[in-house]
Symmetry: D4
């Protein structure tokens, strides 16, 4: 059942040919595979445009392998595993022979399958305040790439040397979506938000010390941004930012 | 200087015909009007696609009138004043005779000028968990409308009666962007985020009592949403959500 | 002295045959064994219907063994040791020869003695939002089982894929008590609370990262649940939830 | 459609005569009335055993009247309105002539309709630490009574004068469920939890000052209770405690 | 006893002509006037270079008058009263006839006596992020002026329109000390700190809403500033910033 | 210079024979030994009745040895070292040959010198809620003993089994001072405070998990105790409680 | 039954002539009067040495009058009502004719009956950091006086002018107990704690602004005092400090 | 381009010979070196008077070496690396042969190049409350020294033994700037702030335990200091304090 089918179905609902209840029934047939310890959502690709993403933390290597195997049997899309580790990746490599498996140890992110072609209406800019924010930024950038986006990276442009940022004004003004990754006082999001005319997704990082309180200072600052058009994801949640940025960048295809 | 001029200019920067420094100079000529107590940004319409928005709280009625007057002299766009009050609106009505001035006392939002035509690639869905979240939702909805978006409202569909939400599945699946407004435990954002395949902007509200701590419970819940594709704005910040939703909904025109 | 004796005694208090003071005296005879480092409450089985539970954290293996030995000499009920470890279990196995000793390394819970028969007026449903919440859920489930309850497990039914939960509607509607275990935004408790017509005990877990703050986000969300009939125990406190669920499920026998 | 019908339906699901999807359809017919600002859940009585409860705070008097009217047309059950005020009650009295309407100004709780007969397997004990906790306790007690429970009140038995509590040992040991309402250090829940052999629902109150932080001290204390069998509802949430206590007290009828 | 006397005395301590104990005795003669409810420090002018400052909040009008009278009898320096009100100022005006008394109702600050001549090695720049921060900024600016400093004001230059700030680069680079006053995300301090080569004193304000938590967001952001050379005073503490800025600006005279 | 000398001196100050300044001089002669990294207060024994106590955490073994050596040369009183470790104790044993050195590894407390005779007007009762609170309680008890107090220990009498505490009513009513040590909900302090007629010093411990937040729950509960006569020291600060309890128990000698 | 009787009784328990249970019975006869909304503890005078204290906040004037009447009928001791108001005092004056009734509007404290003679082993010193802390200090001082203590007041001796405090060294060194009342950074407790050789009870006040957080800054500072011998009561809890100080000052009589 | 050039340029801006835009162009030529993972600011020496400081935490040894090499090629100023470790220092020593490289393992601070001559208008006093605060104090002191300041150290002068501090009154009164480093209750800043007539920069440290919350107690206390002239940097941020102190001490040269 393709996206087009779904849209047709829902249009039928709108014009009364199909009842809501019938539509729900259609949508719910065979919706997931039950592995016991996890229930895999086979329709999610339809419903949200990408394959299941696996949050690796708190799962054993064996559980991850089991989930990935089921997913690659049901779909050709690449599979993204966040917060995983070298041991799990090695197990995947020995268990799944016919897929490319790459791993970025910097941000603990593994990709099973090939990178898709670049689609989307523009490019996504990923900016960081400092060098230490790069792992979180890479989680965002790789997530966006595996979901079919062109990504431009702009690292170490924090507000304590504002001319480094101003020098890249054209990168900022040309982006479709911007992901602003910063720890400490998180001011990067506000400054970029004031310069850009596209949505800015702010990612607070836990980089810093003292009254940083594990990223709380950047989180609060970003939530209180005086610039319009800024929204925020959880501390260190590069994945979430990359995922939503991709949704925004693909909005033309979805509606 | 129109948006097209800016893009041409930046392209010249890219291909080397114009230096970055020259471009900055072009962009910075006559950039604002200085009223003493406020510096109005005349180019913001260019840079961000809409006229200056006035955050009414903490400004005297006279200051608001002075700012609005300057803005309507420089642009035909409608002016949005958030967190204002009846007295200020009355002063605006007596000081600005040739503009429509409407006021929603429910969410303390005033609009000077006419509503623009609906543009954007789809519609924005604004959903609330309960009846008490409606004022914040209206701030978001009216903001989106004044920025040229079609808005669909879906109120009182909180997760304690999940079938009320499921019954509106087609509204959720047809939206370009969804704004999920909820207080208490803020679960609405996660449930909608799991059903939708478009970006969800979550707005925590300060509705509730006890260990709600002025909206903190909903804020934390939304930041920790297990659904991908959800980002969050500040507590009760309907304006911020409406503004970013409009940016997303107009992304085709910008890039 | 059995429960029936106690009730008779208290009835005598009510009708005046026995004074309150005499009753207190009766109840307080030989009430505990003093081991020096711990005072074991021999009457607790009477007073609360089960044997003493040992909170293993912060006690040495020798102290645990000492306590268990005293308990098994005074009662035939199984003994539950929470938050213990493999070393302690091995010491117990070598020190107590005539009892079955089982250990679940996943949730660090040890049971000395045999599982009792299933009593109680119905079954207890234990549900989790994700795979990572399973250890806390198992602490709850095993606790309930050792206290004589039938337990149904329903794992990985978090709200980001709400149809997985809806598919199990009959499990939810048939339960006597439900234990909802979830980290992150803790929305599972509200959604289940809205669907069920039995008491729901919510257990926030420390699963998550960033602004999760060790389970605080789920705790606050659950306390602020918009569904009626939900109460909350401490973060990761599977034992407490299992214990209270058992009390509720056995309410017919107690009053 | 009665409870018995629902159970039959679900049994058919279990034994395969009816599919899950068909059952969902049955359950979802005509499920709510849409008032625009609120969606009233007509089936909730079936699903949860009582009529809709109205959380009065944040709703206008007119909205409350509209909701109550719709509810009393669909059901004979009494309607409970929490956190309301005298003005709303007067409007209700002039708008609904054929129902008893009572109001407890102490805890801002209004009941439309007659008190139901006492059902349930035992009585519910409501205890408070001090005199100032009484309004929250009354919200719990009246909620339990309107849901068909016998309630015993035991006020001002705080732990600083422990013999006042011990003197009422028989009330504690005879209860089916206990609601322990206390502010300040919230120790009442632990002491009662240690004495009772039935479930204890703890309600922290915002009574106190200084480092009480609006009830946080009692909330944390109750969550960390060293007594087993204690769960907690939100600060000052007497309604939630009364509602869950009633569910527990009626458990024999439900399963 | 002048400052020169004190320095001579301490040099004598250094070279052994005077013992530490003798020096303490010299310094402690007649050190304060006891009014019962307050102990006025007559030597503070010597020790810290200015007359006693009166924190007006929490003192009655009569107490303030009593303190001011005592101070003007002992010194010719102007007296600064912070956090006071119109009633107190009127009482001062009727009780002290031979002194100029001015009052800024905007920041509740009163000055008794004449403004001193401008001394100090340069000027102090006071900048604000928005219009709403002006009252706190004026408390800082007037404090600095009454302590003999030249003050330059630069208001509404927040980072959401960074070119407004960059346009004033020469004001920033010419200052001796900068006071950066901002609410919301408090990014102004970091951006100015990165541009300036003089000390920056950051003042968080309680301006904002939602997860601003009364100025906490700006406070944490400023403490975590990625720019070197920034220190922070308490939320809304314009006085403290103006006072320390004056100390820094007069450092040449002190050592 | 003995205590008697000091009192005589201060009386002379009172009756005018000696000026305050002269008295300060007398008191300040040779007041400390400067070791570079630490300044040892030789008069503290006079001023506070005991020898210097060494807070061992954050000091190297060599620094501790250096400090102890200086102290034992200046006084015969025992020296107490808190938060130390086995390595430091071994170094002390090899460096100081003529003193008894004992070490309690349970609470990391070392005593150099002999236990003094029991003085004080009564005995100090040290009670704990559970077995896990014993290390903190021992820090309090040993501190009190080394300062010359008789100590009675009453461990594992937490409020979840209130009859264990009531059984020791005479210990509670006979004490001069009580130290109540408890984690979790910290209710022990309130219950003892309501039973006793002597001062109670409450020590919150970091024992517990979940929303315990490192002892915050017990701390807040104890500060909000509904019993009069209870004061609180820092989390896990057994030393502070033992020290103040000794001061109270020796009050007859001091005034 | 006097204190002597109690001690005799408990000694009999110790030597075996009387069992614990018999003693409990003796102590529990007729222990309180039940007013419905409050349970008055008639034995508290015996158990804790003073009459019941009434916490006025949250009680109606009529409830306070009812409680006071019952108390004065059972005892000749003065009755202390804290946190009350002028209306309640007027009602007391018209309802109780034969007792002196005084009221301090500054700290909202009312005393019914005559001040007792000064007993206790020494005097209590009450010190404040500033003028604004005086109301809390007076609550402490009057509480101590009504419990039979001599009180010395030492106000406005905060650490920013340390010589004002040093000048009163003899007051500090002569006290039996010291109550140190301070807001803001609460440093007064540490400085006094370092100078005194008697117990210091610290009372944080909510005086201050900004990051004071309603007294939290002073509370944390006092809990973390580097001086030994300091314990802390709740924010603004002058009564608690005065009560415990009296207990300490009367310790000779109790043991 | 020297400072004098910059001032001339800006004066030309002021008198109109040069436009703001031209000045910005001049200042921005060749402003940084891009290393990919970091952007080095070559002009910072001009703009802020010292070479780039490297925050070592979160950078690999290779990245630090790369940055240092680039910096020493562009300038003769010493380079300061904070929060680094022995491995990185060894790599620096093998990679940079012609520079002095010193390392203080106590505070993890490395200096590449020679200490500059002492300039500045006076000396900087660095004081600590206790022995455990010394590492943070050394970070401040060494930072100040590498920036060309004379530093006086005054360690272990905490307020619990106030005479140790008073004994050094001349050091305090002679300083240009004071850095007060303290953990626990942070009272040192207030006491020194009350004695000194120069700016005091307070550094809270994370030294302490219990309700210290990682330095929060000292941070809040210092922000709420009752002494004027005190500002605060982040917890444990010795570098920030040393840096700003140097700016203040060199103010004569800058303006």
């Amino acid at each position: 059942m393709t996206k087009a089918n779904i849209i047709e179905l829902l249009n039928n609902v709108k014009n009364g040919t199909t009842s809501v209840e019938e539509a729900v029934l259609c949508l719910k047939k065979e919706p997931y595979t039950d592995l016991g310890y996890a229930k895999l959502d086979n329709h999610r690709g339809l419903r949200q445009g990408v394959a299941e993403v696996i949050y690796g933390a708190g799962k054993t290597s064996e559980q991850v392998l089991g989930i990935v195997k089921t997913l690659v049997e049901n779909s050709d899309s690449p599979v993204l595993i966040t917060r995983t580790d070298e041991d799990t990746v090695n197990l995947l490599k020995s268990g799944i022979k016919d897929k490319n498996i790459s791993y970025d140890a910097n941000c603990n992110l593994c990709i099973v399958g090939d990178m898709p072609p670049k689609t989307g209406c523009g490019h996504i800019l990923v900016a960081t305040g400092g060098t230490s924010d790069i792992p979180v930024a890479e989680e965002a950038a790789l997530t966006a790439e595996v979901l079919g986006n062109e990504v431009v990276r702009l690292y170490d442009v924090g507000v304590a040397g504002i001319h480094r940022l101003l020098d890249k004004l054209d990168d900022i003004m040309n982006a479709s979506v911007i992901i602003a990754v910063a720890g400490m006082e998180g001011a990067l999001a506000s400054v970029i938000g004031g310069l850009a005319d596209c949505p800015v997704i702010a990612v607070p990082t836990s980089v810093g010390y003292g009254a940083n309180f594990g990223g709380l200072s950047a989180l609060l600052a970003m939530l209180n941004s005086c610039a319009s058009g800024v929204s925020v994801v959880n501390i260190d949640n590069g994945f979430g930012a990359g995922y939503q940025a991709s949704m925004i960048n693909h909005i033309k295809e979805n509606s």
